[in-house]
């Protein structure tokens, strides 16, 4: 129950600071609306009929990064003006404190993904997924956001200030985004770049999301591999965040 108490407090923070929702969704929306329109013509020659639909899965991952990164900022704000210390000396399990924080980031991600999907409909993007496909999308987005939220939460407790935090998150997010199949098909890449793209776990979640969104289905073994990969990553993200919180009290 303490998880929901922390979650409720954090959700209230999010809506109180609603600009964080606008700011974090702004860049992915610009990619969706502007970039897809501009690059769409070129991509038709590569056999991609609806480029907006093609880049939507990558932008879902990008919006997860944005939303979850901003939840790390919440830690800094609550440390300087809020109940961070008061919560830590209350009889709430450390794991509940972390979980409440991560789930808020996941909820924010879902809200922003929902907005992205609505906007994409104006660009003729039609989800081919049935109920089972929607459930798969839900699981994949949940695991992706949970991992990123754990990473961001832990980083915000390890890094000394907001400036350093923002710098590190930008240094991580942009290479991860561009070295994936978010903007172009993997078949067009060769050599070391292809290896880098294949090593990137987000490449695989984007591929699966794309298959489910565009064709309503995904290759079973590949799907299982991606889900298991992200279950492990989500677990590691949670442990990293928990260690960060415990370290906060071990100065």
């Amino acid at each position: 129950m303490s998880v929901f108490t922390i979650l409720y407090r954090n959700v209230k923070w999010r809506f109180h600071n609603a600009f964080t929702i606008v700011i974090t969704i702004l860049q992915p929306v610009l990619w969706l609306v502007l970039y897809s329109s501009i690059a769409g013509q070129t991509m038709k020659s590569a056999g991609i009929e609806n480029y907006t639909a093609f880049i939507l899965p990558g932008l879902v991952v990008l919006v997860s990064f944005s939303a979850c990164s901003s939840s790390g900022i919440m830690n800094y704000m609550m440390k300087s003006d809020g109940s961070f210390y008061r919560v830590l000396i209350s009889p709430v399990r450390r794991s509940s404190i972390v979980l409440g924080g991560l789930l808020e980031a996941v909820l924010c991600t879902f809200l922003e993904v929902g907005i992205m999907c609505v906007i994409s409909r104006f660009f003729s993007v039609r989800l081919a997924a049935d109920i089972r496909g929607m459930f798969l999308i839900f699981i994949l987005v949940f695991l992706t956001a949970f991992f990123i939220a754990g990473f961001a939460y832990g980083a915000s407790l390890v890094l000394p200030d907001e400036v350093m935090y923002e710098t590190v998150m930008n240094a991580v997010v942009l290479p991860v985004f561009f070295l994936s199949t978010a903007l172009f098909p993997a078949e067009d890449i060769n050599g070391i770049l292809k290896t880098a793209v294949n090593i990137n776990p987000f490449t695989h979640v984007i591929n699966i999301l794309r298959d489910v969104i565009l064709y309503g289905t995904a290759e079973r073994n590949y799907l299982l591999f991606v889900i298991m990969l992200f279950v492990v990553m989500a677990g590691l993200g949670f442990i990293w965040a928990l260690c960060g919180l415990k370290k906060e009290m071990d100065l």
């Binding site: 409720y8 407090r9 109180h16 003006d81 919560v87 209350s90 009889p91 100065l251």
Partner: protein, 258 residues
């Protein structure tokens, strides 16, 4: 049950705290705080008062030394101790995105207080701390004094047995400070809560405390009632404080040791 009857709310023995960056904040703290009293920890800036509070509130672990709260060991029973204490830190810890009532109820949920009891306690505290007329205003718009009152009130939602107050009157004007002092006495007398107060205002310690402890350079150098401290040298608390915390005194003590 035996622990519930413990005479001392807090007992410490030779607490040492060396931060990982090498700073030695505490180098020998011996304290005994009786249940139900106002205990003042007096010391200059950098004496180690805030570090000590952070240890006693289970936020930090000491490098070595013994600490018990109502007879329970801080190393092994931190979770139980957390349910018995609350701390008003130097910086107000109000969530400005929550309303006054939401802040207080959030605190009660952290301590798993049943809703009906929480609402009853909240009404009592809102009335007791004169916060009725601020209910409908956003918390962010409150003045510093009102925020401080709300901070103390919400920390009392869990009916703590020990309330830690870390320099609660810093930066307050004379009127607000007097009001705060009355409030502290009220908390001790009406709510029967042990108050552990850190301050560097001598007048505050003099007017409120049952027991006073003077700290210098991370060590406790004197502890007793105001009468006991003053009777030692037939001087005022100010004289004693200045004598114990001055650089000269430190040198003399070092020379004595050599």
């Amino acid at each position: 049950m035996q622990n519930q009857m413990t005479k001392y709310a807090i007992e410490t023995e030779n607490i040492i705290k060396r931060y990982k960056n090498g700073v030695q904040a505490l180098s020998g703290v011996f304290l005994s705080v009786k249940a139900g009293e106002i205990f003042s920890l007096l010391g200059e800036n950098g004496a180690g008062k805030s570090t000590l509070i952070r240890i006693l509130t289970t936020y930090l672990r000491p490098t070595s030394g013994e600490v018990t709260v109502f007879g329970k060991n801080i190393y092994t029973e931190a979770a139980w101790i957390r349910s018995q204490i609350a701390c008003v830190a130097q910086q107000t810890s109000i969530d400005t995105q929550l309303s006054l009532e939401e802040n207080m109820l959030f605190q009660s949920r952290l301590y798993k207080i049943p809703k009906a009891d929480a609402v009853k306690q909240m009404e009592k505290l809102i009335y007791g701390f004169g916060l009725e007329r601020y209910r409908k205003y956003p918390v962010a718009s409150y003045s510093g004094g009102v925020k401080r009152r709300l901070d103390i009130a919400l920390n009392m939602m869990s009916k703590p047995r020990i309330l830690f107050l870390d320099e609660p009157t810093v930066g307050m004007d004379a009127g607000s400070r007097n009001l705060m002092w009355e409030m502290m006495k009220q908390i001790r007398d009406e709510f029967k809560i042990t108050i552990f107060l850190t301050t560097h205002y001598l007048e505050e310690a003099e007017r409120l405390s049952n027991h006073i402890c003077i700290m210098k350079d991370g060590k406790t150098v004197k502890q007793g009632t105001l009468a006991e401290l003053c009777s030692l040298s037939e001087s005022t608390l100010e004289d004693i404080f200045l004598h114990l915390t001055s650089a000269e005194s430190g040198k003399r003590e070092e020379e004595d040791c050599i």
